[in-house]
Symmetry: C2
Subunit: 155 residues, 2 copies
């Protein structure tokens, strides 16, 4: 199959790598209570709370509207507390509840299974990390330019 | 925000990079007739047809059950032709119909907008490509070991 991929674009390579990681993580987290995407959002809260929805969206790279669906589901499960942002009274900051931390801990054990097995196949973590940062930056800059060009054309 | 990402794991970096690319591609492809995931499947067909569902699943890195949902949707749209595999009569191979090619072409124009802007931010394509191959390989190997260990424990 390797020969079939020679002509692939970087975005196709990213899509395929992500699908493969998704299969690994979804398999490892089956029955752990949180789906991989949900676990990413809980993890951003766990590491950085108290944190605003805008900051979570920036960390996980989701549009704010997408993130708001995750936050709503967490609220319905009683997994998140919200209070006014002491630095900016117009926004709010979120923290995990005791139940939210417990859900994160359970999912984390399953995720670590996937992570450990994944990292066994990574020879040079720093260079992969740098490449992923380059991908993320290129996509963020590209979206900013696409949006400003579209505005210029229609505005 | 960069300081907040220091402790992140490679899988979190991949998740964030992928989300960011998704935002770019989804924005560029809005109204182009195919969603980014669908476009990836159509592209595998476009490049490698005639091709079996198993081969498409391997190329895009999807579990065969996930892929079968995409194929079913393509069939309902009249975008795919199926015939017996001349090399193996128990399986079938797929090709795009004229309508399927046309849908791919339209989506491709929008995708190329996203791709061009993305690539403007990539300094060293070869090293990013190598890193993504390493990620894909590590995930595939990790899943194989996870599955065989689970079987050994329960079997």
């Amino acid at each position: 199959m390797a020969g079939r991929r020679k002509r692939s674009s970087l975005l196709f390579d990213l899509f395929a790598a992500n699908q493969r990681v998704r299969s690994l993580v979804t398999t490892a987290m089956d029955g752990a209570g949180l789906k991989p995407d949900e676990y990413a959002v809980y993890s951003a809260l766990f590491e950085f709370e108290p944190i605003s929805p805008t900051e979570i969206a920036a960390i996980v790279g989701m549009p704010p509207t997408t993130l708001s669906h995750y936050i709503r589901a967490m609220r319905e499960r009683g997994h998140v507390d919200e209070r006014r942002n002491p630095q900016d009274s117009r926004s709010r900051v979120l923290t995990l509840t005791v139940a939210g931390r417990s859900a994160h801990r359970q999912a984390n054990q399953a995720f670590e299974q996937a992570y450990r097995r994944f990292m066994e196949g990574i020879a040079d973590e720093a260079s992969v990390k740098a490449a992923l940062a380059e991908v993320e930056g290129a996509a963020a800059d590209g979206l900013a330019r696409l949006t400003s060009d579209t505005r210029a054309r229609t505005g």
